[in-house]
Symmetry: C2
Subunit: 398 residues, 2 copies
């Protein structure tokens, strides 16, 4: 019979989808050019030309079997060697090809990571604010996602709340730094404290606790900094990476699982990923895309527009009185809503053509998310709408 | 803790892998050129040039966002429109784009199909001989795969055994025509009888029984024929297709689910696939590959070599006394082993450089599978080895 589970999920309301429908109505009234859509996290800069050039070169110079033939289920070994070498060079790690497993983006990587270290009934903890898709990603494996309340002071970790929730049933902790939606980058201090707590609880409970690190925004860090590399802090780390943002090719669905060799079981876990794939129908990302990222993995798209946009928005919105934790990376920011009901605020903002996502689905009430992966001229043009919103709806000051 | 389920699967022995290891030893003795490897079902002909040309054109003429941007989770609408139109033209169907869901090959399609219409504990029936990967594909969903014994007369369906196993817990029946490993193509009579039995049992049990049709070999049919299109025979058919074999690009992982619109719920099921994806980390095949197959879906690679090879092998092996049901399609054949222990036969064949897969893992004892997706000259050179095998191991006649 038709699955009631998946049929039932269709009636779940998506805040972003509702917002987009409302935006369509508003855009009819205001005109397309006066709609400032900050709702969707789609990279807006082009892929590096070298990536396309590499694909074309492969198609023109290699045999069809080499480019389009079956790749091994764990990924193409020469590709994984290049990716491991790049990680080792950039993050002072010591991965081998056998510690990596090629996936269809970060979603594919997470689907494998959860199944590697949890059973149905186990708990996975994550931290608000968080990417709402983590709910179906985790809960459909049979494990249960529980969300630690936010540290709204700086969107680092609320350690008191975390320790209170870190019970014996927790088999894995899921982090996302740089973070969607807050833009926060976990500091070395945060990661050190996190690792110490996990280690202490492992000893207390007598079982391992794995750290699953969702890292698609790893290369989008501001102020010339680099995000602390999570595996440096904790041996039982499973990094889930996607090239979607760094190379600006989210449609190509390419990423990997990289298991920290210090765990002592990295090769076992990478190999187990191939077994998990058999049940979830994964069976490798595209071979030509694997081959092309192997040669371009040290490049990024021109990500500077995201920092430019962040600085403009952070500067002007704080001048208007918005409270914002300044993002350390990503292309998101997460300002406080001027009124406690973020959905009410979003509806008001829409009247001015501003499409802003209320924070409730990210696990924190009273904030809103802005995805500023958009044209800088449009960002500048939106500032007037923010000004009118504050003047006309909130009496000119927040 | 590390999953015992997936860890345990690593110790499962693969007959084909063992055979390949043995083959490596033998090839040291005989020399690489005297090894005739009929074990692996990898397409050996190149992709149509038009496919590569289309990829290059897309990369050179379209914007990065159009080619590499996020695609909708159900697949790119314009791609699905072209595929639906092609199916309608070729098979006299009436699909719309909304009846299709784009997947990472047939494995991805099957992973969605099983979850659409079964719950954990339900049974799915398939027919021996069958693709052994169906076991993990089905059983890891929580449903249970049960195998109907073969009709060895012609590798159509053993209806007596099928009806005996078609109990109330069966929610879906999985077929694969043209068939790996037998090469059999289900006749219109077989499909008519199958549909009639399913319809009768649906009424008897008061629930639907879905037909999941795994169709990657649909375009590899011999003697100028066309395989009867399964959806014509039964309204509740879910076709699972891959371009791996027809376009010879198994590494690109591209295929689709097509739900028969006569089921009355095709759009519902296609949309539900998007929900299933969220739990299994699927999230679309590559966008550039989707766009390229849309324009080349009416083409095939030059598949004629498979028929050439089949005719040579069928002719010469039957002359040597092998009993073979002549394949109607695919690039496999499934001769009877000259002795009941097919593994013992395979070991003897290996001494002559012939790598042949014993049939036990396909659910039938006493046969062997040959994948003849290989160079015709090598096929011809292998005939002498078959002759020596029969003379020296079986006294010259079978």
């Amino acid at each position: 019979m038709i699955s009631e589970l998946y049929k039932g999920m269709l009636s779940g309301k998506s805040v972003i989808r509702e917002l987009n429908e409302y935006a369509t109505d508003v855009s009819r009234a205001l005109g397309e050019e006066n709609i400032f859509d900050y709702s969707l996290g789609n990279p807006s800069v082009p892929v590096p030309q070298a990536f396309n050039d590499k694909v074309i070169e492969l198609l023109k110079t290699k045999s069809s079997i080499e480019v389009h033939g079956y790749s091994p289920s764990l990924g193409i070994p020469s590709v994984k060697e290049k990716l491991a070498a790049s990680l080792n060079r950039r993050f002072d790690m010591h991965y081998t090809a056998d510690d990596l497993f090629m996936t269809s983006g970060a979603a594919g990587a997470l689907a494998h990571a959860f199944r590697l270290v949890t059973q149905p009934g186990d708990e996975i903890l994550t931290f608000a604010p968080y990417f709402p898709e983590y709910n179906p990603y985790v809960n459909l494996t049979g494990a249960k996602l529980r969300v630690v309340p936010a540290n709204t002071a700086d969107f680092q970790i609320n350690f008191d709340a975390f320790e209170a929730m870190l019970g014996e049933k927790v088999q894995a902790v899921l982090i996302n730094t740089p973070n969607n939606p807050s833009g926060a980058v976990y500091s070395a201090e945060t990661l050190t404290q996190l690792a110490a707590l996990l280690t202490r609880k492992e000893q207390e409970y007598g079982h391992e606790i794995w750290l699953i690190s969702d890292e698609p925004y790893r290369e989008i860090v501001f102020d010339g900094k680099q995000a602390p590399y999570v595996s440096h802090f904790y041996p039982r780390t499973i990094s889930c990476y996607s090239f979607s943002k760094s190379l600006s090719l989210p449609g190509e669905r390419i990423g990997y699982v990289a298991v920290n060799p210090d765990s002592g079981v990295s090769k076992l876990l990478a190999t187990m990923c191939g077994q998990i794939s058999r049940g979830i129908g994964h069976n490798c990302p595209s071979s030509v895309i694997q081959l092309a990222v192997a040669d371009t993995c040290d490049l990024t798209a021109d990500l500077s527009v995201y920092e430019t946009n962040m600085n403009i928005l952070y500067g002007e919105l704080t001048k208007l009185g918005f409270e914002i934790v300044r993002p350390g990376g990503t292309f998101y920011m997460f300002p406080k809503s001027p009124e406690p009901d973020a959905a009410a605020f979003s509806r008001k903002a829409m009247k001015y053509g501003l499409v802003l996502v209320p924070s409730d689905s990210f696990g924190v009430p009273g904030y809103f998310r802005m995805a500023y992966c958009t044209d800088t001229q449009k960002v500048v043009r939106s500032l007037d709408a923010f000004g009118r919103l504050v003047r006309e709806e909130y009496g000119g000051s927040l």
